[in-house]
Structures are given as structure tokens and as C-alpha cells.
Symmetry: C2
Subunit: 549 residues, 2 copies
């Protein structure tokens, strides 16, 4: 009888165990979990603290007993794997309740130990008892009890990633005034900055005090005071530290398994470490970025679950290839949904890949049917082949759908041209006859096929400063709410009759509200012999960054 | 200067005109529209009658003046094209206001005349003044005025397609008691019958009186009485006739253009008729079914819009191929969303194509986060290659998203195996770490890769009648709400210990609530040397059809 040992009993480990048992009824499967609980809902933890999830039991997807019985597993919780002896194919484990240490042999070993929140050695951090990180049930209980019992008035969240933002929202839901401190110039790193700007505005609307480009220098007064790098001081009743995670790699590293630059366990395409008897998955491993082919750390539950199934398949002998991680991610941030897939501009620039960008602002569904709201949708693609590199979307409704469609399109190797042809479901409550994704495809295709040229939100001010001409083709009344300094106004409907006002000896830049009318004007100007460029995303994209108050 | 004439100024025609102008600033583009309005929201009409859309002006996406100006078009509304003279490349038109008739020449002619509601010569139909069809603004005004002024208490909707169901809902929204009469044994033909059964139940819950497998024999008493084929009689204050549309093909047919069997104008892959100067699109044409390659009539706005853009491209000389219509469709039916893509079982059987089916019932998002509701999702695929033929989904939330993902997957030629690997956005408010689409992919892949055998809801009763053994692996308490007659109960958790109760000399059938535990039991039995088959979709799919009250 084969014996398979799994380290870690939550997203990746539990999935691997379940699938393995389905494939293989006879093997002895031992699941070691350091914590008390297996198979819990990590992703639900912030919402239990915020009391959107009211019943703590809902966090437990499976119990130790239930899961043991259902899948005939030998689950040993509160048991830590301390060491791997690769030569003898054994692990050393410690029962954390009894303190007993023993060895267990394996034929195959699966590592899904996850990651741990980064807890940096900042001055005063260890003296404070009101600084929290969130990863598991004990963390959750600690935070929730603290909130329930001490009823904090003010909280500081350090780090504006997914978990930081979810915690900001959930603490606000508990009536706490939240300050969010982020070292970068934007929250939510998978977004580019102009897309993050929409989130910044929304956070402020929701009363979150947002401090960007600043970090913590020291905690003072037992954590009641935070001194920032800028010298600014904050008082707080509690602090959430959510500045990222690092892989739980010590077990693997100590056993001489290959570790990547950023600490992830290295695996081959079968999710096998450099020891063929040992597989690894989940937050602990380094994956291949599906878009740029480089090593990446993408600690998300979807990939962990998928990898768990693939590892089980491979331990069973199926030889299934894991094709890399696209990094599709999503977060609810108060009323907004924020979603991304693939690579953003920052990553592509860093990797030296050339790309083009299109911003559109279509409605979530037909504008004439109640409840439609705009989606800011950004598509990033190869300006020659039309290959899709990534997408980002922010809006109140229908954001997840569009991101999932684009993520699927990427997996299907569809180009931006194909996006114009995908046939999405349309009735007024759900979409428009041209879905936002079709629309993004149209805009991108026009750039490739018809040479429609655009200029980006971050370029236009300099262009005007250098003497460029920017025509705003909106109606005068629309300009009352704001316009780009230096632009001149010729409404779209008048442009054909007023061509003589427009000089032919220089490039003409055009803008409107969202980019659509600017595009129409660009077509008219180009047909009339002008060199014209449209401001991509129009005033809406531009003003999110530059007129965000 | 080229002159292009477009017949029909709504979905297809208006889109073609707009795109053509963007490509070609100089041509003379004449748009003829028989009605008063161009570019209106056909799809919004039911919701204006139901007063979800309150402002009539919202139905007009563009006005004649606005659109003329914006796109420099020669729009002639209230003008009907009566005849095409292909030899001389002219059309004969009649100004419906003045009665004047004149000719207009063209270099290229685009036909987007749409379709008209079928109005069959049923006895008494012409004597009644309370029988309505719905296609355009005048129809809408007539119905709305009738409802507003006569305040009908009872209405009969004939035909359970998209428009019939939307009208049923909107009339109920106006406080009217609705009877829906449908000739087939199910509403919503793109669904298969077990999926439609969910809709049937919901309609009844919403107070709609549903009469299936019956049709209208005669209208009596000026339409106040309806006699059905069954002999049943209904009294009614108004009747909506929505039994389908037929293509507006007379102009084309009279001009000797090729017409398909079901009345659609025939076009080649460039959407060109057999006269190279004449293009046709929209509801009026016969398309190629993207899945089975056969001619089909698919009168939907998404395809019409897409075709409009392609026709414009091709008139301009771009030679873009229209790759066929997938037929992705969706409707809101009270609280339900009903969506389909590709072919259903009925179509595939008719075309003689072999297929496999998988039913799953996952939650719209993580079960522990409030507001999740089940989605009945059906995937139809090639049992060998895993090619996806079609999908259907019914549920309260997240249905449109899953259908759009599958529609995109089909366009990307992804197989059911690929569905297991697509990386969809996951956070608890939006999905589960294994999205419903991934889940459908898992179930289908298991059938192909691991030979997991299933039996369908419509087969199991006969199997039991023939002496087959069906084990229900749910907990006893779950069976209290209903179970399949003749099934025996061995809960999943006990099955490994009770194998000796299960005979080895015949196929064992297994069922549970949704198919998941039945699958686990199938794995256990198979591993123990049994021949086992799982009831696909479990009690949930079975009971929708057989225990629908
Ligand atoms: C608050 C929060 C919210 C999140 N929200 C989302 C979201 O919305 N969407 C999303 O995609 N992802 C989300 N994630 C990330 C997701 O939970 C992880 O990507 C996923 O759980 C990773 O799975 P894993 O198996 O690698 O690690 P885990 O699920 O963390 O499991 C690892 C387990 O291994 C155990 N372990 C470690 N070392 C040992 C050892 N030596 N011996 C025994 N046991 C050991 C640990 O105790 C742990 O329980 C969230 C995470 C958190 C913390
Ligand atoms: C009530 C209703 C609800 C709908 N809901 C949906 C939905 O939710 N989703 C969806 O995808 N589709 C829906 N549709 C279908 C969608 O509206 C059509 O598929 C689409 O409008 C077809 O476009 P078309 O250009 O072919 O025809 P149309 O949009 O109908 O335009 C054809 C126009 O041509 C004009 N015309 C015809 N002959 C002549 C002539 N000889 N001279 C001059 N003018 C002429 C007609 O007056 C008409 O205005 C709905 C349709 C209706 C009626
Ligand atoms: C619950 C858990 C143990 C996984 O168990 P699992 O059995 O692999 O997953 P599910 O319960 O979703 O079931 C999926 C299986 O049922 C099958 N299935 C699902 N619905 C089915 C149906 N209607 N009919 C037949 N089979 C079905 C699938 O094919 C799949 O089996 P396969 O992998 O052999 O193909 C694991 O995912 C877990 O611990 N999750 C919680 C932790 C976590 O993921 N955290 C991060 C997110 S909060
Ligand atoms: C409105 C109508 C005239 C179409 O006009 P249209 O200009 O083709 O469509 P839209 O207004 O959606 O604009 C799409 C164009 O703007 C471009 N565009 C959209 N957003 C843009 C942006 N932010 N930046 C640049 N370009 C943009 C697209 O690329 C596309 O242009 P292209 O076709 O040249 O590539 C036509 O669709 C119509 O009459 N609709 C109502 C009738 C109908 O469809 N009924 C059925 C459904 S209810």
C-alpha cells in the first residue's frame, strides 16, 4: 500500500487529499495540519470580522471528522511537520498538543504549507499588543475578540493590497474609523495607477483616510501611536499589518529543495520539486507567469485549488501539466468591484515587453434599463498581433463577468480582434448588444487595423505644454464640470463645418468624455487629411488621476 | 462619390451606417426607415410597457436629427423601400407621409429589414381589437395605451419564447393576471426540457397560469374569449401574440435574391447576397450555426450589431468573414436569469450528432458569504474530444457570467478539459475557488478521462422498473423532502462499511442531492470492483421535472 503524506490541510492540501482519494481508494493518505482546523475559508475571514458572515461555523468548509470519514483520510491536525529526510523518505512531526515527536514514512510527499504574513522588525512592533496579521482562524478570533471587547474607535491598516482593503472595509463596517497607509503611490498593485485612482476616490468617499507613499517607521506607546517615514504621526486603537505574505519555505529549504529568488519553492511543470518524490503547490511555490513566462509569486486560492487537483493527478501518475498562473484577481472594495487578469503596464514595462493600451467606460448593461453603472475597463495587448496581455476593470456592477470573459479569452488565445466577435448574452438587464468586452475589442482593433492613434492620460499635459493642440469635442455644458487645461472646444456635431479653424501643419489631439466621440472626431479629421490622435479614455480616465477630489 | 443605400434603420442598419461613415467620410449614405424612428431599443420595449423603464424617451438611442448630424447621414424615415432594380442598381421608395414615390440609385445596397411577428390566420383574429404583437414603437404605444386606459385584469400571452416570457413578467408587473399558452411541452425553446422545468416552476410561483402543449384554435367575442386546441376556453382582456418572427424577405425575394428554406435571405461568409452589390444582415438573413454548421435563423440583437459592423467593413472593402452565430441568448424571467449558448440536446439529436451531458448545481458564489444561490448549469460536449457544443444555465444570480465564459471558451475552441484550467476571478462575494464553470469542466473531464459513467434524469425510472438498483447516498433526513421511488438509502459516509450489502453482479446506480456525493460513491464503488453509474445532477435535476409542484 502506497503512503502519501500531505503537509497543510487547507486550500491546496485539502483539495489534493480529496482528489487523491477519489483517484485512489486504497493508498494511505496522511494529512498533517499545524493548526486546529483543516479546510477552512481563508477568504471569508475578513467578512466574519466585519460581521457580514455572522456564524463562525460557516468558516469551516469541512471538519476534521467529516472530512476524514468522507475521504477516508488520516488527518492529524495540531501536528507540525518539522523536518524532511529525503534520503529515507520520512518526515519528522510533532504533535503540538502532547509535544510528542515521531517519524512517518512516505512514498510521495505533498507540500502545501501556504504563506505567512510579513511581520517586519519595526521598532516597537513587539511591544504592542494591538497589532494584528490575518491568515488563519486563531488570527481571526484574536482580531474579532479585540474589536468586540475593546470597541476600537480608530484603526490603521498598513498595506493596500487585497487583504488590507478587505480589512479596511470590514473595520469600517464595524463602525471604526480607518486610516490606510500604503508605501506605493497606489493601492492594489495589480492595477495600474490610473485605475487605482478610482479606488482611491471611492475609499475617501467611504471615509477611509488614505495615506500613500508613506510607511511605518516606528510603533510607540504600546502600538497606540504610529510614526511614519514622513514624520507624520497617527494615533490608533488597533493596527492591521497586511503588507504581503512570504512563502512557508523553511521545511523545503532545510531539506535542500530548490527555492526561487523570492522564496517560493521551485517546481517543474508537473508541480514536482527537484526531488521527484516531493510535490509542492499553493502559496508556497513559485509559478510561471502565464503571460510573460517568468517566475512569479501569485498567492491565490483558485490556483491553489487547481494545483491541488493537478498534484493529486500527478502523484497518481497522470502527468498533467500546470500551464502557469494568469493571476486573475478580484476584490470587493465597499461598493466597487476591482478585478484584474494577466499583466499590467508596470509588469510589462519591467519585463521590457512592448504593448498598447485601450481604456473604455461602457455601461454595465443597457443604459435605458435601470441600474446601469459605468465600468472602467482597460485592455493591454500587443499592438501588432493583438495578443491580449491583461485587463483591469473597476466598477459597481458586472466587473467580475467582464474580467472572467477576458481571462477565458486569454486562455483560448483569442486576440483583441476575436473579442469583437465573441457572442455574449444580451438582454437589457445584463449587457448591451455590444458588450463592454466587445467594445474594448473594437477600440483595440481599430488601433491595429486602421492605425487609429491614441495618446495616454499621462502624456497629454506635456503635449499641451509643448504647444500641442487639444480639441475637446464635448458640448460646452459638459465642460462646466471640468476640462483639460489648454484644450479648445469644438463640439463633435460642428467639427465638419469648422475644419478651417484647425491647423493642418501639426498633429491634432482630440478628447471627449470617455473617448468615443474623440474617436469619431479622429476619424473625421484623419479622413480630411489631418494627423489626429485621440486621448484614450477621454476626460474620464484623465480626471480620475488629476481631478480626483 | 459612392452612394450606399441602407434599408432599415435600427439594430443592423443603424450600426452599419455608423461604422461605414467612420470608415468612409466621403460616400453618400442614405438610410431608409419605414417607421418614424431609427435606432431605438427594441429590447427595451417590454420593460417600458411594464414601467420598469419609465421614460419613453429612453427608448430612443439616437434621434433622426442627432444621428444624421453625428454621422453625416441622409436618413429618410417614414420612407419605405418597395422594390429593388438590380440591373439598374436602383431602389423604388415611397415617402409614407406624402405618398410620393421615387427612385434612388446605389453603388452598394445593404438590407437590414428585420423580421415581423407571426400573425397566423386563426379564426376570429382579425375581428378582435385586443390582440397585440410587439416589434416596434407603434406596437409598444398601442399596448401601453391599452393597458393604461382599459386597465385589463386578465391577459393571455401566446408563446413562451423570450419575448412572450418578458411580456408575461411585465404584464404581471402591471398587476395583470397572466395566462401563458405554449404549444410545445416547454417554454424557452433554446433550453432542454429539464432546464425549462425550473422556469415552469418559477412562473407558477409568480402566479402565471401556465398551459403547455396547447394552442389557439379560435378567438371569439372580439377576442375576449380564446378557444384552445384542447377545447379549453380562456377569457381574457387582452392577448399578446408572441409565437415567433419571420424574416422581412419580400423585397429580397421579389428582386430574385436567394432565400433559404425558412425564409431567411441567403448570404455568403461576407454577408453578401447572390448579388455582389447587395449585402444583407440581421433578423432577415439565414446564418450558419457556429456549432453544427447548418443554416439557422437566430434573430438576436448582438449578432445583428456585429453583422452591421462587418457589412460596413465589407462594403468598404475589408473582406471580413462572419464566422457564424453561436446563438448565445438570455432572458430575465421574474427573479430568474435563463441563459443558453450553442446547441441544446434537441438540436444535436436532430442533427444526428453524438454528445454527452453534465448537470451541476453549484452556488453562484462562496456558500459562506451571504446571498449565494444555486445555479443549474448544463454542459453539452463531445464525449471523446471534449469539444463544447453548448450550455444552459438557470438561476437567480451569476448566470449571465457563466454563460458568457462558456460562450467565450467555445469561440476559443477550449475543451471541457480546458474549462478546468481557466482562471476566473475569485473572492467570496463573486465566486468560489472552483468556479461553477470549472466544476462543470471537472465533471465532464471525469467522464472522458476516467470513464465515470452517468445516467440521465429521464432514464432512471425505467432502469428501476427493469430491476436496476439505485442507491441514494444522502442522509436519511434529506430523503424526507422527497426521493426517487425504488431507491435504497446508504449514506455516503457509511458506504465503505456496507459494501457487503451491495450486489456485485449488476450495475449499481447512485444518486444524491446534486450529483457530487453520488460521484464520490461511484468512485468508491468502482475502486471496489463494482460497475457503477451516477445519476447526473442528482435529485435536484430529476425532481425539477418529476416533482415540480
Ligand atoms: C484573509 C485572507 C483572504 C483571502 N482572500 C482571498 C480571495 O478572496 N481570493 C483568493 O483567490 N485568495 C484569497 N486568499 C488567499 C488564499 O487563501 C490562499 O491563496 C490559499 O489559501 C493558499 O492555499 P495553500 O494551500 O497554499 O495555503 P493555506 O490555505 O494557507 O494552507 C496552508 C496550511 O498549511 C499549514 N502548515 C504550514 N506549515 C506546516 C507544517 N510544517 N506542518 C503542518 N502544517 C503546516 C498551515 O497551518 C496552513 O493551514 C486570502 C487569504 C487570506 C489570508
Ligand atoms: C420586444 C423585443 C425584445 C427583444 N429583446 C431582445 C433581447 O433582449 N436580446 C436580443 O439579443 N435581441 C432581442 N430582440 C431582437 C432584436 O431586437 C433584433 O434581433 C434586432 O433588432 C434585429 O436587427 P435588424 O436590424 O435585423 O432588425 P430591426 O432592428 O427590426 O430593424 C429593421 C428595420 O427595418 C425597417 N424596414 C423593414 N423593411 C423596410 C423597408 N422595406 N423599407 C424601409 N424600412 C424597412 C423596419 O421598420 C425596422 O425598423 C428583441 C426584439 C423585440 C421585438
Ligand atoms: C473542500 C475541499 C476539501 C475540496 O474538496 P473537493 O472534493 O476537491 O472539492 P468540491 O467539494 O468542490 O468537489 C469537487 C469534486 O466534485 C465533483 N463534482 C462537483 N459537482 C459535481 C456534480 N454535480 N456531479 C458530479 N461530480 C461533481 C468534481 O468533479 C470534483 O471532483 P474531481 O476533482 O474528482 O473532478 C477543499 O477545496 C477545501 O478545503 N476548501 C476550503 C479551503 C479553501 O479552498 N480556501 C480558499 C478559498 S476560501
Ligand atoms: C447606436 C447605433 C447607431 C450604433 O452606433 P455605433 O456608433 O456603431 O455604436 P456605439 O455608439 O456603441 O459605438 C461603437 C463605436 O465606438 C467606438 N468606441 C466605443 N467606445 C470608445 C472609446 N472609449 N474610445 C474610442 N472608441 C470607442 C467603438 O470602437 C465603435 O467604433 P467602430 O465600430 O468604428 O470600431 C446602433 O447600435 C443602434 O441603432 N442601436 C440601437 C438599436 C439596437 O441595437 N437595437 C437592438 C438592441 S436594443
Amino acid at each position: 500500500m502506497k503512503k502519501i503524506i500531505i503537509v497543510g490541510g487547507v486550500a491546496g492540501g485539502a483539495t489534493a487529499a480529496a482528489r487523491l482519494r477519489r483517484l485512489d481508494e486504497k493508498s494511505h493518505i496522511v494529512l498533517f495540519e499545524r493548526g486546529e482546523h483543516v479546510s477552512f475559508a481563508n477568504c471569508g475571514l475578513p467578512y466574519y470580522i466585519g460581521e457580514t458572515i455572522k456564524d463562525r461555523n460557516k468558516l469551516f468548509v469541512q471538519t476534521v471528522e467529516g472530512m476524514s470519514r468522507k475521504f477516508n483520510l488520516d488527518i492529524r491536525n495540531l501536528t507540525e511537520v518539522r523536518k524532511i529526510d529525503r534520503e529515507n523518505k520520512t518526515v519528522e512531526v510533532k504533535n503540538l498538543q502532547t509535544g510528542e515527536t515521531y517519524e512517518e514514512s512516505y512514498d510521495a510527499l505533498i507540500l502545501s504549507p501556504g504563506a505567512k504574513p510579513i511581520f517586519p522588525p519595526i521598532a516597537g512592533i513587539n511591544e504592542a499588543d494591538n497589532i494584528f496579521t490575518l491568515r488563519n482562524i486563531p488570527d481571526t478570533d484574536k482580531i474579532k475578540t479585540y474589536v468586540d471587547e475593546t470597541k476600537p474607535k480608530k484603526a490603521v491598516v498598513i498595506g493596500g493590497g487585497f487583504i488590507g482593503l478587505e480589512m479596511a472595509e470590514n473595520l469600517v463596517d464595524r463602525g471604526i474609523h480607518v486610516t490606510l497607509v500604503e508605501m506605493a503611490k497606489q493601492v492594489m498593485a495589480p492595477l495600474d495607477v490610473e485605475m487605482a485612482a478610482i479606488v482611491h476616490r471611492h475609499l475617501k468617499e467611504k471615509g477611509v483616510h488614505l495615506i500613500l507613499e508613506d510607511g511605518v517607521k516606528a510603533f510607540e506607546d504600546n502600538g497606540m501611536k504610529i510614526v511614519l517615514n514622513s514624520g507624520k504621526e497617527l494615533t490608533t486603537d488597533m493596527t492591521m499589518l497586511s503588507i504581503g505574505v512570504k512563502p512557508e519555505n523553511s521545511l523545503a529549504a532545510d531539506a535542500g529543495l530548490d527555492i526561487g529568488e523570492r522564496g517560493g519553492i521551485k517546481v517543474n511543470e508537473y508541480l514536482q520539486t527537484n526531488d521527484p518524490a516531493i510535490f509542492a503547490l499553493g502559496d508556497a511555490i513559485e509559478v510561471t507567469d502565464y503571460i510573460n513566462g517568468q517566475p512569479a509569486m501569485i498567492p491565490l486560492a483558485g490556483p491553489a485549488n487547481r494545483q491541488g487537483r493537478i498534484v493529486a493527478n500527478n502523484v497518481y501518475g497522470k502527468n498533467q501539466v500546470y500551464k502557469g498562473t494568469l493571476g486573475t484577481g478580484i476584490a470587493k472594495v465597499f461598493d466597487l468591484t476591482v478585478a484584474t487578469t494577466g499583466n499590467n503596464e508596470k509588469v510589462l514595462s519591467q519585463k521590457g515587453m512592448a504593448y498598447q493600451v485601450a481604456h473604455v467606460h461602457p455601461a454595465s448593461h443597457a443604459g435605458y434599463y435601470p441600474g446601469a453603472s459605468p465600468i472602467a475597463l482597460k485592455l493591454i495587448f500587443d499592438g501588432k498581433s493583438g495578443e491580449i496581455y491583461g485587463a483591469q476593470a473597476v466598477g459597481v456592477d458586472g466587473v467580475d463577468k467582464r474580467m472572467d470573459v477576458i481571462a477565458t479569452a486569454i486562455k483560448g488565445k483569442l486576440t483583441v480582434h476575436d473579442l469583437t466577435e465573441i457572442e455574449l448574452s444580451y438582454a437589457p438587464p445584463f449587457s448591451s448588444a455590444k458588450d463592454p468586452v466587445n467594445m474594448a475589442g473594437y477600440v483595440a482593433s481599430n488601433m491595429i487595423d486602421d492605425g487609429i492613434e491614441t495618446v495616454q492620460w499621462h502624456e497629454i499635459d506635456q503635449i499641451i505644454a509643448d504647444g500641442g493642440i487639444l480639441i475637446d469635442v464635448r458640448e460646452p455644458v459638459e465642460r462646466e464640470a471640468g476640462f483639460i487645461a489648454g484644450s479648445i472646444n469644438i463640439p463633435l456635431g460642428e467639427i465638419r463645418d469648422r475644419l478651417d479653424e484647425i491647423p493642418k501643419d501639426q498633429t491634432i489631439y482630440v478628447t471627449c468624455q470617455v473617448g468615443l466621440r474623440g474617436y469619431l472626431a479622429t476619424r473625421i479629421l484623419t479622413a480630411n487629411g489631418y494627423q489626429a490622435k485621440n486621448l484614450d479614455g477621454g476626460w474620464k480616465t484623465y480626471s480620475t488621476v488629476f481631478h480626483s477630489n
